[in-house]
């Protein structure tokens, strides 16, 4: 399994920038560790060599006819062993540390001294000192060289005093020769220290380049606001993690985390406050994750955490999700303002819920959106059967797009009548129908919400408007259309800046008289962005298009604002019409709606009239127009045209289709 702890690459690209000095120290430490390892091997070999050398010179000492192990061999074994094993132990327990290289320097010089003595003070053996100094120079630490030189100088001084023959080949103490020895060592040191200095400069330059490269990598891989890995890095990392998990047969959870209503909070506290909030939120989530977890900002207010699991179930992932929820129970404080933030989380598990990065994230995202739909501020583990409906929805979305391309959609027209003169329709409402090539008729109640969610409603609305305008123009020019055709407008359409212009353009495109089209807008759609809606409706009404409020009473609206708009018609929702004859409450509501509409100068249409009692009651209450199955069902274009032709040819006795 991929190691979730930062590796060396991560340390190079970590979010917190490091200075050149720290990087040089880090690189130098790595180098010293390598030299330490080399020294450990060298010293072990050197020890073996010292023993072999002592044996070669003289394995035995003699006393007459008997021999015994030469004391030099014993010294090479034991004294040489201490001089070897002590630094090797230091290299093992404290690699790369200064104390280790100083120990190496001191013991290496003492080993040189031992070898010189074993050789009987042969001048050639002194080259061991210079070789050792050259090797010690690889540490790039001038103090090590100074210490090594001081040790060998002291050793030679003491030997020069107590055993001059072993150093100078002379019975007498010869200070000038000792100085000569020291002089050559210093001469060598000067060269080596200059070399160290030069190599350190090179190392510093390399570190600077390394830092610059790391900074570039950091910029490419980390988010500047939160300091977390970004989406691109997450993607690379996740691909690696999947590869490792596959190789090691291990599992991990993918938590997709999204703030609830972040846009509203951002509007409330401003963008700079929003940025600070994001950083604090990221910190709070990070504090709830293990050190080994990977945490990235996916974009905007979305974050992703990857958590190692012991088994195929997201046990650890769920624990973390609960912990995050607890962490968010306390509000954040931004500029002395308490900001409560909720999070919705979706969890998917590798390999159960996806074999690649895109699938895992998609499923976690789906689970997170399900949480958003059902109430927010919670978490949900992805489950294939839970999301089967989503899959169906996805298929339906594709079908709907195809339906638009292939002309499977059409408009049906439901007549609208005056309440007291019900033999002739005074207009129609255009209603969309979808005949699926396999599934047959699909109810608008199924595909209109889908179209609203997916944004296809704009295309559907355009289609309906074009078709209605074309048909209204045709019938009007043939003298068939008595009033207007009402077309429903969705909130999405109304929120577009160019809505009014596009409607006018469509009417002009089909040479449709403005009074032949009526637009139906729900009160909720109106209130979403009232200023924009007001501008659109005023422009359209100035052009001559009639405007009506649809499904009145079911949504939210401000009567004060409605008063500002000049509307033509108010349509009472079928919910109230259904109980108007049986429920006193419904009757009262309808009565007041009618009274209010008339006061504001609007006509009132009752939708969904299905029986005579309802019709009679509405008549009694003063409703102007009615629409419903009692009088006429929606009809396709041909039947509607036949009705209109029939009305025109036999005005005395209209024959409406059976309801």
């Amino acid at each position: 399994m991929k190691n979730f702890l930062p590796n060396s690459f991560l340390s190079l690209t970590r979010a917190d920038p490091i200075g050149a000095d720290a990087e040089v120290r880090r690189q130098h430490n790595l180098l010293c560790r390598q030299i330490d390892r080399n020294f450990a091997w060298l010293m072990l070999l050197q020890w073996a060599f010292a023993i072999g050398y002592a044996l070669w010179i003289s394995p035995l000492a003699w006393a007459g006819d008997t021999s015994y192990l030469h004391p030099h061999v014993s010294l090479a074994i034991f004294y040489g062993g201490v001089l070897t094993l002590v630094p090797v132990i230091f290299i093992r327990i404290a690699p790369g540390e200064r104390v280790t290289r100083f120990t190496v320097a001191v013991t290496q010089m003492l080993m040189s001294s031992l070898l010189i003595h074993l050789s009987g003070g042969r001048i050639e053996t002194h080259f061991h000192i210079f070789g050792s100094l050259a090797f010690l120079a690889f540490y790039m630490d001038w103090q090590v060289l100074i210490v090594a030189s001081a040790v060998i100088a002291l050793d030679h001084y003491l030997r020069g005093v107590f055993l001059p023959f072993s150093i100078f080949g002379s019975y007498a103490i010869q200070p000038w020769r000792w100085l000569e020895h020291v002089g050559w060592v210093v001469f060598c040191d000067v060269f080596l220290i200059l070399g160290c200095s030069s190599r350190l400069r090179t190392l510093r330059e390399a570190a600077q380049r390394h830092i610059e490269r790391a900074a570039l990598l950091r910029r490419a891989h980390y988010d500047a606001l939160t300091g977390l890995p970004n989406r691109s890095y997450l993607s690379e990392w996740l691909a690696d993690a999947i590869g490792d998990a596959e190789a090691h047969k291990s599992c991990f959870s993918c938590l997709y985390i999204d703030f609830d209503r972040f846009k509203e909070i951002n509007d409330q506290i401003g963008h700079s406050g929003g940025d600070r909030l994001l950083a604090e939120v990221a910190g709070r989530i990070r504090s709830r994750l293990d050190d080994g977890a990977f945490f990235a900002r996916f974009g905007g207010d979305e974050f992703v955490a990857i958590i190692l699991e012991a088994g195929p179930s997201p046990v650890r992932g769920e624990e973390v999700a609960r912990s995050i929820l607890r962490a968010f129970s306390q509000p954040f404080r931004i500029d002395e303002t308490q900001v409560p933030v909720g999070v919705s989380m979706g969890i998917s598990v590798y390999p159960r819920h996806g074999s690649d990065e895109a699938e895992l994230l998609h499923h976690a995202d789906q689970a997170m959106y399900r949480v958003k739909r059902v109430g927010r501020n919670h978490y949900l583990v992805y489950s294939a059967h839970l999301f089967a409906a989503d899959a169906e929805r996805s298929i339906a979305e594709g079908d709907l797009q195809r339906a638009l391309r292939n002309g499977e959609l059409s408009l049906h027209y439901q007549p609208i009548f005056r309440t007291r003169l019900r033999n002739r329709p005074i207009g129609f409402e255009a209603l969309m129908r979808w005949v699926h090539p396999v599934r047959g008729n699909i109810s608008p109640a199924q595909f209109i919400p889908l179209a609203e969610e997916t944004g296809l409603i704009v295309r559907l609305g355009n289609f309906a408007l074009h078709e209605a305008c074309r048909q209204a123009s045709d019938w009007r020019h043939r003298g068939l259309l008595p009033g207007s055709i009402a077309v429903n407008v969705s909130s999405v359409q109304l929120s577009r800046e160019d809505f009014a212009e596009s409607v006018i353009l469509t009417l002009r495109q089909h040479y449709t008289p403005a009074d032949a089209i009526e637009l139906e807008v729900t009160e909720s759609a109106l209130m979403q962005d009232f200023c924009l809606a007001e501008r659109h409706l005023r422009q359209l009404r100035d052009f001559g298009i009639r405007i009506s409020i649809d499904d009145f009473g079911t949504g939210y609206s401000s009567l004060g604002r409605l008063r500002q708009l000049t509307l033509d018609t108010l349509k009472i929702d079928r919910l109230f019409v259904e109980g108007v004859a049986t429920s006193e409450a419904d009757r009262t509501v309808v009565e007041h709606i009618i009274g209010m509409a008339h006061t504001l100068g609007m006509k009132v249409v009752a939708e969904g009239v299905e029986n005579e009692t309802q019709l009679q009651t509405l008549c009694d209450l003063g409703c102007d127009q009615i629409q419903g199955f009692l009088l006429a069902r929606p009809m396709d274009r041909d039947k509607t045209e036949a009705l209109l032709l029939n009305l025109n040819t036999a005005p005395q006795s209209p024959s409406l289709p059976a309801a």
Partner: protein, 201 residues
């Protein structure tokens, strides 16, 4: 308990320092401890060596002692300076037991002395060494042409080490003057025991 009280690094440093001191002590002791000496006959016994008009330099060595090459090198230096004004006799210890113990081992070869004339004397069981009181390999006796002892002692400054020493100068002076060497006190012998294990090492 002890490991907690004394950190590992301190323990290691202490061990290393102790080892360095012990090593130093051992090296110094081995190099500078002289071998045993007994007084040599003040007059060269008659009949042992043919009469000659040159001083006699009698050197007792052990054929396997690792200090012997240093003695040969020192002798080479001495003879280079003394020229042919001295007769050199090498008394090399030998015995049946040594030959058995020494089987397969080459004896120390007097390579440094090959360009000097010398006589080699196989000192069976060290009888000659005993007679002259030479207990340590590297012991040198200098007799004047009139058979008087001029010098007794070692010629190397330490075990297995060569180098300038006052002994060389004293010997040269004695050879040249025919009078006893002045620095007899500096004539300790550094080498292996020839025939008995008095002080091993």
């Amino acid at each position: 308990m002890l490991a907690k009280a004394v950190p590992l690094r301190v323990a290691l440093f202490s061990l290393a320092a102790l080892a360095v001191l012990c090593g130093w002590f051992q090296l110094t002791r081995f190099s500078t401890t002289p071998g045993e000496q007994s007084p040599a006959p003040a007059i060269l016994p008659a009949g042992l060596f043919p009469a000659n008009h040159l001083p006699l330099l009698l050197v007792f060595v052990h054929p396997q002692c690792s200090c012997t090459p240093a003695t040969f090198e020192q002798l080479d230096r001495l003879l280079n300076q003394a020229g042919n004004s001295v007769e050199l006799v090498l008394a090399v210890y030998d015995s049946a037991a040594l030959q058995d113990a020494d089987k397969g081992r080459k004896p120390i070869h007097p390579g440094a002395l090959l360009h000097h004339p010398f006589r080699l004397f196989a000192d069976l069981n060290g009888s000659l060494a005993r007679r002259f009181g030479a207990a340590t390999s590297g012991e040198i006796l200098l007799y004047s042409p009139n058979r008087q002892l001029l010098f007794q002692g070692g010629i190397t400054p330490g075990r297995g080490h060569t180098g300038d020493s006052p002994v060389n100068r004293a010997l040269l002076a004695a050879i040249a003057s025919g009078r006893p060497a002045s620095s007899a006190s500096q004539s300790a012998v550094f080498g292996c025991p020839i025939f008995r294990l008095a002080h091993p090492g």
